[in-house]
Assembly symmetry: C2
Homo-oligomer: 208 residues x 2
DNA sequence: AGGCTAATGGCAGCCACTGACAGTTGACGA
DNA sequence: TCGTCAACTGTCAGTGGCTGCCATTAGCCT
């Protein structure tokens, strides 16, 4: 049984998250001030900054939930599985279970719209990419351990993860750019793009 | 023959670039204010912002010179060459001719130290990564045209460039982390890592 | 009930960045 | 050569993100 104080904090945090998502998707990221968000939840600006390191974090925290699940999924993949396949399965699994993670805080539809804001706001995109790199470092160490190689002596873990991350980012961008962008579309794109990495690296593309 | 006004502008810009590089590498990026930079060149803060869109840009402008050359090199590669090979050759060429591009503004040694600052300062790294993505979009269109495919219908150009970019970023990070980091080391790492992308994607890594 | 501590609010201040306006200086034709 | 125009610069005022500090409030625990 958690204490009242903890429940209150949890509620404040989620309220801030909701207000931020709502405002960012309607007025835009730059068009929303931290004061706006704080006011919507009826707390002081100072309190906002006690919950989030900055405005960016409030915009990316929801994705953080999904990413955490994804990394955890990789950790739990069977040891015999090939590295790239473990990543692939974990991502697909992440998309499949996204609903239950997100809906506890905001409607999935709002989450998806926020995704678009992140992708189209330069400063947010930059922060997003940096976070992706941090995750890639985590994954590289994970895979190295799994495969029993030294992550600092053998570049293959980092290379594999970087390639995977690159493909995923292309996928995200294409997905967000579409009219019909839902979770099923994302799944299909992910599978398709990962299949085409090999062909993309071959000699020339004219002979399809 | 360029006019006096243009020469003066050029000089101011390069002076700001030099001062920024010097200050960032000594006091750190966060430890340097825009006022510091402006004062070092004896111009107003307002003038600084007329030359650079922000503090970040002043830190990344030098790399911009190198990147521009790189993209131009890709454009000039023979049409028959395979896409990945064109990128590879262009990067190596870029490192080889870096000296003559940079030295015109600041000592190469200072440029390399600045590289480290970018890689180790979160906000700068984020901006750097975003710019990398923009470049990747440019390259994807370039390669698509070269190969005669539609960049929006065929994902292969973007995928190839994303993979290449991912590998280059891993290379950069490893290079900067080293004690002895010079241009020759960078060249060697680039060649080595690009060779290992294939192996990194194979089944498992235990049988090296 | 009352002391302890975590959480909050308010305030002052720093810094990045911008718009507006006025002053200065190079460019260029008469 | 000079005067006009346009480009460049400085100053100032203001906004917004973010932080440190201190006083106040509110949940926790004995």
């Amino acid at each position: 049984m958690e204490t009242l104080r903890e429940r209150k904090k949890q509620r404040t945090r989620e309220a801030l998250l909701r207000a931020a998502a709502e405002l960012f998707t309607t007025r835009g990221y730059e068009g929303t001030t931290v004061d706006d968000i704080a006011e919507a939840v009826d707390v002081s600006q100072r309190t906002f900054f006690r919950y989030f390191a900055g405005k960016e974090e409030a915009a990316l925290a929801l994705q953080g939930l999904v990413v955490t699940r994804f990394v955890q999924a990789v950790r739990e993949r069977p040891a015999g599985e090939a590295p790239m396949e473990a990543l692939r399965q974990s991502v697909l699994q992440g998309w499949a279970t996204l609903h239950e993670v997100i809906e506890a805080v905001v409607p999935v539809e709002l989450y998806l719209r926020l995704y678009r804001v992140v992708e189209s706001t330069p400063v947010l995109l930059a922060a997003h990419l940096r976070r992706s790199e941090e995750i890639e470092e985590t994954l590289a160490r994970l895979l190295a351990e799994r495969e029993g190689v030294d992550v600092d002596a053998d570049p293959r873990p980092r290379l594999a993860v970087a390639v995977f991350g690159g493909v995923m980012r292309v996928t995200e961008r294409q997905w967000v750019a579409r009219e019909d962008f839902g979770l099923e579309e994302m799944r299909a794109l992910t599978v398709s793009y990962l299949e085409q990495v090999g062909p993309a690296l071959t000699e020339n593309w004219r002979t399809r």
